[in-house]
């Protein structure tokens, strides 16, 4: 196959061209309440062609190998239509040409586990949550895995053939009361180990108990709070608040933003270190090579409070005179790669969690996340669970906690970083420019932030 693609690429007159092929088989299992709503096996096969001409990209997709040559012509036509107007010189960051095959390297391959066994495991968790308490109205349990053969080649001679697996799991216990419907959940995800979804009975019981307690809790009063974020929520915070802002396309396309995101600028205290890494094996953000054939790395974004790097594709790196970091990613062959995160993390500090709580007179302890969103300057995220902190102690549970703030002020308002660390993985992912969900991971210790605005009654 790779020889066929290489031959086709040799025929193009384009300055630069690349071809992706993707052959994926996925399994899905979804229980809602007692019912196995979805149990399916699905095949996704296709590819894309991307061509660069005079500073402009042309992109097209295909489902059949017979179409590659004609699609290359179409993509070149698109690039010429735009490029002849744009008329910019060729600019992609230099990267080594590689020719590599990466076989599957996993601890436990989900492909070795029968569909029947997976159903049995999911049914067990689902039943455990349903049986926990009569107040549990229903449950939602979903699992997927997929095995993919990715083939990438470009006109510079790089060819990468990689086998990969990915899996995700989530279970929610749902309680309906007069005030509405509330839930608690837990997730798992991995790119190398099916066993992450095993032996979760205690966790399932915990989320079942939490769902009842959340439904019984009062809504939080809106206002400005000192907040302690647990590692999962802190990970989502740094992903939303700073990760997206560090994506090279957002910066290089905008001369005004370049004036704000100047390397060396202070964004936080000396205790703040933020990085994005493709090297964390097993995480869903693990990525040996990105979708432009660039080897990934651990890229520091903030070191001791100062901006030191950003996340680049080859194009954004070249245009900003920086190094390609292996962050060009697409959710599938249906989309062109753009700068995206991998495992984004706040590095460990030195404050024990107990000290954070003890030193907080009135605040909120926010646990896990139902997701977040940013527009660059502002961020918002919603805690899955939360407790008031009163006089240095964790007090009553509250619900409906959504936090917002200005990215730059909030990073400077992080006054404590914990000495612990946890990476969250689940079945969801990140969204950008219509591409969702992209598998990413988020890691952090507990952190404390001053003056966060919280919505509420």
């Amino acid at each position: 196959m790779k020889e066929i693609i290489q031959d086709i690429l040799k025929k193009t007159d384009a300055e630069y061209a690349e071809i992706h092929l993707e052959d994926t088989t996925n399994s899905r299992i979804t229980y809602t309440g007692p019912d196995l709503e979805d149990c399916s096996e699905n095949v996704s096969f296709g590819g894309n062609v991307r061509v660069l001409h005079k500073g402009a990209w042309g992109f097209t997709t295909f489902n059949s190998l017979d179409e590659i040559e004609s699609k290359l012509d179409i993509a070149f036509g698109h690039a010429k239509n735009v490029g002849d107007r744009r008329n910019e010189p060729f600019k992609l960051a230099d990267v080594p040409v590689v020719d590599i095959e990466i076989p599957l390297d996993v601890k436990t391959n989900p492909g070795d586990v029968s569909l029947q066994k997976k159903i049995e495991i999911m049914r067990g968790y689902n039943q455990l949550a349903r049986d926990f308490d009569e107040r549990i109205t229903t449950t939602s349990t979903r699992y997927f895995d997929r095995k993919t053969k990715l083939t990438y080649a470009n006109s510079e001679g790089t060819v990468i053939v990689r086998d990969a697996v990915d899996l995700g799991f989530a279970i929610s216990a749902i309680v309906r009361i007069d005030a509405g419907t509330f839930f608690a959940y837990t997730t798992r995800g991995s790119t190398d180990d099916f066993s992450v979804v095993l032996n979760l009975d205690d966790e399932v019981r915990k989320i079942a108990a939490d769902s009842i307690a959340i439904a019984d809790a009062e809504s939080v009063n809106g206002g400005q709070y000192t907040v302690i974020l647990d590692p999962m929520l802190a990970g989502v915070f740094i992903h939303e608040a700073f990760g997206h802002l560090s994506e090279g396309d957002n910066v290089y396309e905008d001369p005004n933003l370049q004036k704000v995101m100047v390397l060396g600028r202070d964004f936080g205290g000396k205790h703040l270190n933020v990085a994005d890494s493709g090297l964390e094996k097993g995480n869903r953000g693990y990525l040996p090579y990105d979708d432009e054939g660039v080897a990934t790395e651990k890229t520091h974004l903030i070191r001791e409070g100062k901006l030191v790097g950003r996340l680049h594709s080859r194009e954004t790196a070249a245009k900003m005179g920086e190094k390609a970091t292996g962050n060009a990613r697409a959710i599938s062959f249906k989309f062109p790669p753009i700068p995206r995160m991998r495992t984004t993390m706040i590095e460990t500090g030195d404050v024990p969690f107990e000290d954070m709580v003890k030193n907080t007179k009135k605040g909120l302890y926010c646990i896990s996340s139902r997701g977040g969103q940013t527009n660059g300057e502002l961020f918002t995220f919603t805690a899955a669970d939360a407790f008031m902190i009163r006089d240095g102690k964790i007090a009553e549970r509250v619900r409906d906690v959504t936090l917002t703030g200005n990215v730059f002020e909030t990073l400077k308002n992080i006054d404590m970083i914990g000495n612990d660390y946890f990476v969250e993985d689940g079945p969801g992912g990140c969204g950008k420019r219509g591409q969702m969900p992209l598998p990413t991971s988020e890691g952090s210790p507990h952190i404390r932030i001053q003056n966060v605005i919280v919505g509420g009654k």
Binding site: T32, L36, S40, H78, T181
Partner: protein, 437 residues
């Protein structure tokens, strides 16, 4: 292997079968730093199969052309599948709408690029250093469904999305103003460009407001962030599973009598026109909330049988590889009787955009987020952009007791797949909580 051959092979191993195929073609261009940057076309499709054997359902899909392996996959998973009580749709005389694609076809790559360049050049004149952007995306989806009951339906749906905006980032403010339209008819940029220019000018002034309760005007775009509450709670699947808090409230007055919501998939001016859903069930007009009273839910074949209701033609697939699920297509709020200008005079705040609203739990009725594109109002005019605030609205409560007025004007919007195309008026609500510094 053709769809018919897949159906025949599946019928040989199952009690009943349904084959669905879809081909989606789209094209778009985008800008970088106010200069045209790329041009994309995608052409993707595939086939999926549902089988019912011994009362259990199996599903499989493939994007490989003529891939009959889906038959074996589907029959295999049916052994473990869910027990179902519904049957695949019966053959019907329903005909797909004739879709005139002339305007769609006329939007050639050259015309799209020329149009976008003109819009960008006009917007660039507003502010020195601001980045202008413009995008036109056109999508055409062609589907066919055949099943063992003799059903054989084909349908074509076209969608055009056009949007433009201005960005200006500085140390103190990341200003981003945009607007968009979506529908099956392209009606041009004139109004959009004008609105973006006006909002951008107002956003030169920013203001921090006091925390408190406010009279808030939700524009149709602002309503988009609240509509998830209705989409979720009216979903027949959520009702069947006991998730919807409205499951046992048919006939109850849940909202102000000025709130009426229906689905319209067949009217001349429907938000989106589809004669049947992805299961082959004919669509139509369905009232969900009539003058504040809950009347019905929207259903797929499966959710209908689980709740002893009739399917409403809302069993849609989010792509050929997805199972059909009850989906809130064609939502329309009934327009009110108040002039927009009169409502604006009463409003304290105007909300177009709420960051993070989609993370709210729709079944609690509470929508919280940062009203990133919102304005203070004075004497019926927008005066300044609101900064550093958090809006929280309990839709269950305030759409019952806090409605001040509903506009005569309606607008069609949507952001598929997150928000199916819908029509909504402007709605003025009193008592919306805003937290701020």
């Amino acid at each position: 292997m053709s769809m018919d051959n897949i159906l025949n092979k599946a019928k040989a191993g199952a009690d009943s079968a349904e084959v669905f195929s879809e081909r989606v073609k789209s094209s778009s261009v985008s800008f970088e730093n106010s200069v045209i940057k790329d041009s994309n076309t995608t052409d993707l499709g595939g086939t999926s199969l549902r089988v019912i054997k011994n009362g259990k359902i199996g599903f499989s899909s493939s994007s490989k052309p003529n891939d009959d392996s889906i038959v074996d996959y589907a029959l295999d998973v049916a052994k473990e599948g869910k027990e179902v009580k519904f049957s695949f749709a019966e053959s019907t005389d329903t005909k797909a709408f004739d879709i005139d694609t002339t305007d769609f076809d006329n939007l050639t790559e050259e015309i799209i690029i020329d149009t976008c360049e003109k819009v960008v050049n006009e917007l660039k004149t507003v502010h020195d250093g601001a980045l202008a952007e413009c995008e036109i995306k056109k999508i055409i989806a062609e589907s066919r469904i055949v099943n063992s009951s003799g059903l054989d339906l084909s349908q074509k749906v076209k969608t055009i999305i056009w949007e433009c905006g201005l960005d200006y980032k500085s140390e103190s403010n990341f200003l981003s103003v945009d607007d968009f339209r979506i529908g099956d008819q392209y009606t041009g940029f004139d109004k959009l460009v004008q609105k973006v220019k006006e909002d951008f000018a107002i956003c030169q002034n920013t203001v921090n407001i006091e925390p408190g309760k406010y009279k808030v005007m939700f524009s149709p775009r602002g309503i988009m962030y609240l509509i998830n509450v209705f989409l979720s709670c009216l979903n027949g699947f959520a009702v069947a599973k006991g998730i919807s808090p409205w499951s046992d409230k048919i006939g109850e007055t849940l909202f102000d009598e000025r709130i009426s919501i229906r689905s319209n998939l067949t009217g001349e001016d429907a938000p989106v026109r589809m004669a049947f859903d992805s299961e082959g069930t004919p669509t139509g007009v369905t009232d969900f909330i009539n003058k504040g009273v809950l009347e019905s839910f929207y259903h797929s074949l499966d959710s209908a049988v689980q709740t002893n209701q009739k399917p409403t033609g809302h069993g849609f697939k989010s792509g050929f590889a997805a199972l059909p699920m009850s989906s809130g297509y064609g939502f329309e709020f009934t327009p009110g009787e108040t002039e927009l200008d009169d409502m604006m005079k009463e409003a304290d705040i105007w909300v177009d955009d709420i960051i993070g609203a989609m993370m709210s739990n729709p079944y609690s009725g509470i929508v919280s987020g940062n009203p990133a594109m919102s304005f203070t109002m004075k004497s019926g005019a927008k005066t300044a952009q609101i900064k550093d605030a958090m809006l929280s609205i309990n839709v269950f409560d305030l759409f019952k007791t806090g409605i001040v007025a509903v506009s005569k004007d309606v607008q069609q919007l949507g952001m598929p797949p997150f928000f199916p195309i819908f029509k909504a008026p402007y709605i003025l609500v009193d008592g919306v909580s805003i937290a701020a510094k």
